[in-house]
């Protein structure tokens, strides 16, 4: 009977106090709802439901079981007590021989106590009294046996016996005078069901049903919302694993305000990403095209090259001048490691060290760029003081002209010292001789004085040259123009050079026009120029040669041709000899002293006068230097700034 009730209940309610049945039902319900976003939520739901149901059924079961056990125990106790009371009454009645009384008592007790069976039994004889009179088999007590010592000791405890179907039976031996084997048997049905009365079960089932129903309703309500959160969580997981494609991260809008907010955030982020990418692209474009941006324009207007290196020593920016000076296209400079661009080891290493933050020291290196024309670049690498420790700039300067000037100065000083030494030594020697012997020997005295005089003049010229060069270098060469009498000028020139030429056995010829005019010129400088040219002719012509100076007037110009048959100048060097400190690479020059500035100076002076010097020459055949100077016009009055 009890089992049937159980089965019925499990069909009616979604949950019954049987854990197995309960667990399967919720799962069936939810399987169809496991879709996008459901996964997490469903799991939570199932676990919650299972827990609730499990707890509920466990507590119900325990309660009912305990209740039942208590019920049973109480019934047993009752039966025992009833039996005990009946025993004493029956014993006393039987002692008095009141069989009728016993029968009446048994019948009443059965009715009043709700006993299913109540009887007095004489073993081996029959039933003396019974609640059901038809079962009585013994009319009266048998003969007394003789053991009169049977005394009722109060409540005799019977033995309880649990029969099938929960039937309880108590058998108590009665102490009756003169009788053996008399017993009272009472019996009663057990508790109605293992789980208590049907109201309890129904009640629990009903409450459970209501509870599950409530849970389901609540779940339904929250489903959408929770799905939204579940979907967001899934999107976050996708994002965490790698870069999700835009649009993948958005969730269904219908899933509630959280979903809408999430979508908003995702879209915002996409927008910002796109903006950033655009900005970066624009920056790169601006960088490459060199246009756009005031700063960029300013950098491109600089005549020094500027390179910016990142912390891995790669070039991130190069201005226009950098590309020009390094002779590399701007696009080819970007993203290159600095080592690739600079062949010079020291500057490449220094730049790298600065860019990667290893040192903070500036580094400067002068490198010569290979090419047809000599170019010296000064590269300065310097760290950039920004938040990140590693970044650097490299400034590229064209210092060729400065280098040339430095070298000139150096060479000039060296040469000049050398040049001055010879005449000074000579002067000293001859003065010493003069002091020692000159007083006594007039011939010696005359000679010494002559030599001293010419050496002094030589010194004067050299010093004059040096001063002129210095003035030219400083841009201060000024022509002090005056009226110059050309005839006197050339006469002086001849006088100066004659002795030297004679010493070398060179024939010096002056071919001058019959009528010489005057011209506006700086006499000293002009003399200097002429002296250098003619002096050179003599210097570079071996003994026995001829140097002729032919002066003519060609229209507004004065033309001076200085012809020699000396060692000549190679074609390639004919322009070069006019450069400062240039000396021809002819072996024969090794024995001839020369500062290398004579021609440069002469040309500068002549040009300042508005004229020029040219040369025609052939090796071993001699050279012809031609000076052309305008005689009279404003140009020759021009002074150098």
């Amino acid at each position: 009977m009890v089992q049937n009730q159980e089965t019925t209940q499990s069909e009616v309610a979604p949950a019954a106090p049987t854990p197995a049945a309960q667990a399967s039902v919720p799962r069936v319900r939810r399987r169809g709802l496991l879709s996008h976003g459901e996964g997490a939520v469903a799991r939570v739901g199932i676990v919650t439901a299972a827990l609730v149901v499990g707890v509920l059924s466990l507590s119900s079961w325990w309660t009912l079981r305990t209740y039942h056990a208590q019920e049973q125990a109480s019934r047993e106790r009752e039966l025992l007590s009833v039996s005990g009371v009946l025993t004493s009454s029956i014993e006393s009645l039987m002692s008095n021989g009141d069989i009728t009384g016993v029968r009446r008592l048994v019948a009443d007790a059965a009715v009043l106590q709700g006993l299913s069976g109540c009887r007095v039994v004489i073993d081996g004889v029959g039933i003396l009294a019974d609640a059901e009179p038809s079962r009585i088999t013994v009319a009266k007590l048998p003969e007394a046996k003789g053991n009169a010592a049977a005394v009722s000791d109060g409540l005799t405890s019977g033995s309880l016996d649990r029969g099938e179907g929960g039937l309880l039976r108590v058998r108590t031996s009665l102490a009756v005078a003169g009788q053996n084997d008399v017993a009272l048997e009472v019996s009663r049905a057990g508790t109605a069901s293992t789980f208590g009365p049907w109201e309890v079960q129904a009640g629990i089932a009903g409450i459970a049903a209501l509870g599950m129903g409530g849970l389901l309703m609540a779940y339904r309500q929250m489903r959408m919302r929770w799905r939204g959160l579940g979907a967001i969580r899934e999107s976050l997981m996708i994002e965490a694993q790698g870069d999700a494609v835009a649009g993948e991260l958005e969730v269904g809008q219908a899933m509630g305000p959280e979903a809408a907010a999430w979508n908003g955030v995702v879209r915002e982020r996409e927008k910002l990403r796109r903006l950033l990418a655009l900005e970066k692209a624009a920056e790169k474009i601006a960088q490459r095209s060199g246009a756009g941006g005031e700063l960029s324009a300013a950098c491109d207007a600089m005549w020094h090259g500027l390179l910016v290196l990142d912390d891995k020593a790669r070039i991130t920016y190069a201005n226009g001048a950098a590309a020009v000076l390094l002779n590399v296209k701007r696009e080819e400079l970007l993203e290159k490691p600095v080592r690739e661009v600079f062949e010079d080891e020291s500057i490449a290493t220094a730049a790298e060290a600065l860019a990667t933050g290893r040192t903070r020291q500036r580094a400067i290196a002068d490198v010569t760029r290979p090419g047809t024309e000599r170019t010296v670049l000064r590269l300065t690498a310097k760290p950039m003081r920004r938040e990140e420790s590693g970044r650097a700039i490299v400034v590229v300067e064209d210092v060729t002209q400065q280098k040339v000037a430095e070298e000139s100065r150096g060479a000039f000083v060296a040469q000049a010292t050398h040049e001055l030494r010879t005449p000074l030594t000579n002067i000293r020697l001859y003065v010493e001789t003069l002091v020692e012997e000159g007083e006594t020997d007039p011939a010696v005295r005359a000679k010494c004085l002559n030599v001293v005089q010419s050496e002094v003049r030589r010194l004067e010229r050299i010093v004059g040259d040096m001063l002129s060069v210095a003035e030219i270098e400083a841009g201060q060469l000024k022509l002090r123009s005056a009226e110059v009498r050309l005839d006197q000028l050339f006469a002086e020139l001849e006088a100066d050079l004659r002795v030297g030429a004679e010493d070398k056995e060179i024939k010096l010829v002056f071919d001058l026009p019959p009528k010489f005019g005057v011209m506006s010129a700086d006499r000293d400088k002009l003399m200097l120029a002429l002296h250098n040219i003619v002096g050179n002719a003599i210097k570079y012509t071996p003994a026995g040669g001829t140097v002729s100076v032919r002066v003519t007037e060609e229209g507004p110009h004065l033309r001076v041709d200085v012809v020699d048959n000396g060692i000549g100048i190679k074609a390639e060097e004919q322009e070069l000899v006019f450069e400062r400190f240039y000396r021809a690479k002819d072996r024969r020059l090794a024995n001839i002293t020369g500062s290398g500035i004579g021609l440069a100076l002469a040309r500068q002076v002549v040009r300042l006068h508005g004229g020029d010097i040219t040369v025609a020459s052939a090796i071993d055949k001699g050279s012809t230097f031609t000076i052309t100077v305008p005689i009279s016009n404003g140009l020759s009055m021009r002074a150098a700034a």
Binding site: A323, V324, L325, A640
Partner: protein, 111 residues
């Protein structure tokens, strides 16, 4: 037209001798371009021998100075006479060049 070329240290000086017009101007332009590249912009145009310029001449000069602008430089002119200077001013091209009174100053500007 004769184009004189001389060196002063590391600086090349080009001196066109004649008016900078038409074919002569074009020829000068080519020479100029070659020198600009070779000398990395270390050059001076001595205009003291140029009596006047026409539009071709101007174009030539402007082309050269624009070329150099990529490296932050401008063409240095010296000795330009009044006519030439006026032309440059009127056409608004004067600012694109660096002007010097004489050759020495122009050359010294490279130091």
């Amino acid at each position: 037209m004769e184009i004189q070329e001389q060196r002063q240290g590391a600086v090349t000086v080009l001196k066109p001798c004649g008016p900078l017009i038409m074919g002569d101007a074009t020829e000068f332009g080519q020479r100029l371009s070659e020198v600009v590249t070779r000398s990395l912009g270390r050059l001076v145009v001595d205009a003291s021998g140029v009596a006047y310029v026409d539009s071709t001449g101007l174009e030539t000069l402007v082309a050269a100075t624009e070329d150099m602008a990529a490296g932050g430089r401008a063409l240095r002119l010296c000795g330009a006479n009044e006519t030439v200077r006026e032309v440059l001013d009127l056409t608004g091209l004067s600012d694109r060049f660096e002007h010097y009174e004489d050759l020495t100053t122009a050359v010294r500007s490279f130091l």
